[in-house]
């Protein structure tokens, strides 16, 4: 197997609060290869967005990366000075956010913003930069790009704005793109258009992508691999097909079961009882145990370690839904 473009090992992010440090991301590890899409799935507060921000070095005080390593094509990013990170961001690492209106500057025209993004990393003439911006808009399917370049963000619809944000993120053909719920606020037909374009672009440019979302159905159609997060930890990873068809962790199984379309109409939905715990008051042992139908005494005291299963799967559970014969040697 080729070396991963992005390799995250034991990443830990803490936030200082009055009640002491909160661990938002706790020992997260994963690899992403060239052209691969990793779906990072979890509910609110699971640490999925913070993981994405940490990769770009965008954790601000009171937060800090307390440990672990993030390697981009072998190069360590944790502890890199801000100036060097700036040269990477937008060039080899890029990010798209949920709300494009907060990504784009409302008082600058689209061309100003995109040309600035091109020239921030490449010494090219303004004319050449404009041509590249125009080309990027064409790629993401924006009609009449010449007129659209001179427009302001508020003149675009939500879907078009997100396309502009994606076009800007892909200007430098980054090695890794972090996408934090970029289609959550969009209608299904627009979401499908954006997913189609992102899919094409990543295939063409070989960009590896980390797609952060709470929506398992989007991941099912888009990603190659999946990492399920709960209370700051990755509780299960594997290929999308394995994970969704034969989940190992009871939390993954519960998430899949509570998607309405998986259930018979009129029959009560399978639900996970209780709610996601607050990070400040995590239960001892496996943080999922108060909601878990398989929990026993050991779950209340011992945090389960990441255990490998089958070829390329891993899960943290004392009572996995797959038998011991599937544990990888």
């Amino acid at each position: 197997m080729t070396a991963a473009i992005l390799s995250v090992r034991d990443l830990t992010v803490t936030f200082g609060t009055r009640e002491g440090p909160l661990t938002a991301v706790d020992g997260v590890s994963f690899n992403v290869h060239r052209g691969e899409v990793l779906g990072l799935v979890g509910e609110s507060g699971s640490g999925k967005s913070v993981t994405g921000l940490a990769i770009l070095g965008l954790i601000d005080a009171p937060g800090q990366i307390a440990g672990g390593s993030i390697r981009l094509e072998g190069e360590e990013l944790v502890g890199k000075p801000e100036g060097e990170l700036r040269r990477l961001r937008g060039k080899r690492l890029a990010m798209i956010f949920q709300d494009p209106m907060t990504t784009l500057n409302p008082v600058l025209r689209i061309d100003t913003q995109m040309i600035e993004a091109v020239r921030a990393h490449d010494k090219v003439s303004e004319k050449a930069a404009r041509a590249r911006a125009r080309q990027a808009l064409v790629q993401v399917g924006i009609p009449s790009p010449d007129e659209r370049l001179t427009a302001y963000p508020h003149q675009f619809s939500g879907g078009m704005r997100q396309r502009v944000a994606i076009a800007t993120a892909l200007l430098h053909r980054p090695a890794v793109l972090i996408a934090d719920e970029p289609t959550t606020a969009l209608d299904v037909t627009i979401q499908a258009q954006i997913l189609a374009e992102v899919q094409n672009l990543c295939t063409e440019t070989g960009t590896a992508m980390v797609w952060v979302t709470h929506d398992l159905s989007v991941i099912a159609g888009l990603a190659d691999r999946i990492a399920v997060m709960y209370a700051g930890r990755v509780v299960e990873t594997g290929t999308v097909a394995d994970t969704l068809e034969r989940p190992i962790h009871p939390y993954t199984a519960g998430l899949i079961a509570s998607v309405p379309s998986r259930n018979k109409r009129g029959v009560p939905l399978a639900q996970i009882p209780g709610m996601t715990p607050s990070l400040g008051r995590l239960p001892p042992g496996c943080p999922f145990h108060p909601r878990c139908p398989r929990a026993t005494a050991v779950c209340k005291s011992v945090i389960p370690a990441a255990t490998p299963y089958e070829a390329s799967r891993s899960a943290r559970c004392h009572h996995p839904l797959l038998g011991p014969e599937t544990v990888a040697a």
Binding site: E43, S44, S157, G158, G159, M160, D187, V188, T189, I190, Q191, A192, Q193, L195, A196, Q199, H214, D215, L216, S217, V218, A220, G221, L222, A223, D224, V240, A241, L244, G254, L255, I256, S258, V259, P260, S261, R262, N263, R265, G266, P268, L269, A270, Q271, I272, P273, M275, T276
Partner: protein
């Protein structure tokens, strides 16, 4: 049997009047006109007692406005809304209030819908006391009972909304609506902001309440999975009009209108692996300036000349099924979507 709620050719327009500068400009012959949005454009449908009707569509299609008109929060600009067989516009003040109380709304953003400075006991208990449903002395006991109905611990009734989680706030919003003993709940994206595991809990609560209290629901949502799960019938809206109205199973098995077909195709599904997303072209047009004829024709793969001129009527295409598409009058070019002959009746 008379339907519980009946809408006949209901329209709702929003007008932006000319401001002073524009009026002055008009004196000099600028010819500026008021901008009118037809949020709902001559919509008719019935809701039977005990039924769950799902309203789906993309942003700006008018589904929330329609929900609000049904709930009596907005008055229709034209057309007739009847509740229990009586025209709502013709009711006297007391009858109107009874009708308004009988149809309650549950909103999307529960943090915005609940007064942050009031305790839960006041939020839930205020309306039933004001409307004389319970005496002020019995409020605490009544609130405790309502809280138990929606799965909240009555011991938390002295807390403020911010002290609850998102799922619990959704339950408070539902409890507030239930406190005035409504017959109908209009749920406007009530589970959209919740995590899937919490959404499942709230959807189950809606279904339990329906069984226990015999409630009727209008369920407004952009999430087709949720609507498919909870609704008996589904109305699909596009730019202010209902384009298809059908029992849920039939709609999801064999959608008739090209827009419904496209919409169902776009829904990401859990069992579709690494699929190729092939998108419906274009975006929903501005409701300020909707296309002529069938609103969907610029995006429709089957559009022909008549679609650009004639507004298609919502016609019966099968038992309980209605669709507003000219293709149902023609030799149907859509593969496998031919409608059995004789099924086309005037609506």
């Amino acid at each position: 049997m008379t339907p519980l709620i009946s809408l006949t050719d209901v329209s709702r327009r929003f007008t932006k009047p000319l401001d002073a500068a524009e009026k002055v400009a008009n004196l000099f012959g600028a010819g500026l006109k008021e901008q009118v949005v037809r949020a709902i454009d001559a919509v008719s449908f019935d809701v039977a007692e005990g039924e769950v009707v799902g309203l789906v569509g993309e942003s700006g299609c008018g589904k929330s406005t329609l929900g609000r008109v049904v709930a009596g929060i907005l008055d229709p600009s034209a057309g007739q809304v009847t509740f229990q067989g009586r025209d709502v516009a013709g009711l006297n003040a007391r009858e109107r209030r009874a009708a308004d109380l009988a149809i309650q709304m549950v909103f999307q953003d529960h943090m915005a819908a609940l007064n942050p400075r009031k305790r839960v006991v006041e939020i839930i208990g205020e309306a039933p006391v004001v409307h004389g449903l319970v005496p002020a002395s019995g409020m605490e006991a009544y609130v405790a009972e309502v809280m138990r109905t929606v799965g909240l611990d009555p011991a938390t009734r002295q807390r403020y909304p911010h002290q609850f989680s998102g799922g619990q706030r959704a339950r408070i919003g539902i409890a507030r609506a239930l406190a005035v003993k409504p017959k109908v709940l209009v749920c406007d994206e009530s589970t959209a902001a919740l995590d899937v595991s919490i959404q499942a809990q709230v959807l189950n609560l809606f279904m339990d309440l329906r069984r226990e209290l015999g409630l009727t629901y209008i369920f407004v949502s952009h999430d087709l999975g949720v609507v498919e799960h909870i609704s008996d019938r589904v109305a699909v809206m596009y730019l202010g009009r209902i384009v298809e109205l059908s029992p849920t199973e039939a709609l999801f098995e064999a959608p008739n209108h090209p827009y419904t077909q496209a919409l169902l195709d776009e829904v990401p599904k859990l069992d579709a692996r690494k699929r190729k997303f092939s998108a419906l072209k274009g975006e929903i047009p501005s409701p300020l300036n909707p296309p002529s004829g069938c609103h969907f024709h610029p995006r429709c793969p089957h559009a022909f000349d008549r679609c650009k001129v004639d507004r298609p009527a919502l016609k019966a295409i099968g038992p309980g099924r209605f669709s507003a598409c000219h293709l149902n009058d023609e030799d149907d070019p859509r593969p496998g979507k031919a409608v059995s002959d004789g099924a086309v009746l005037a609506a």
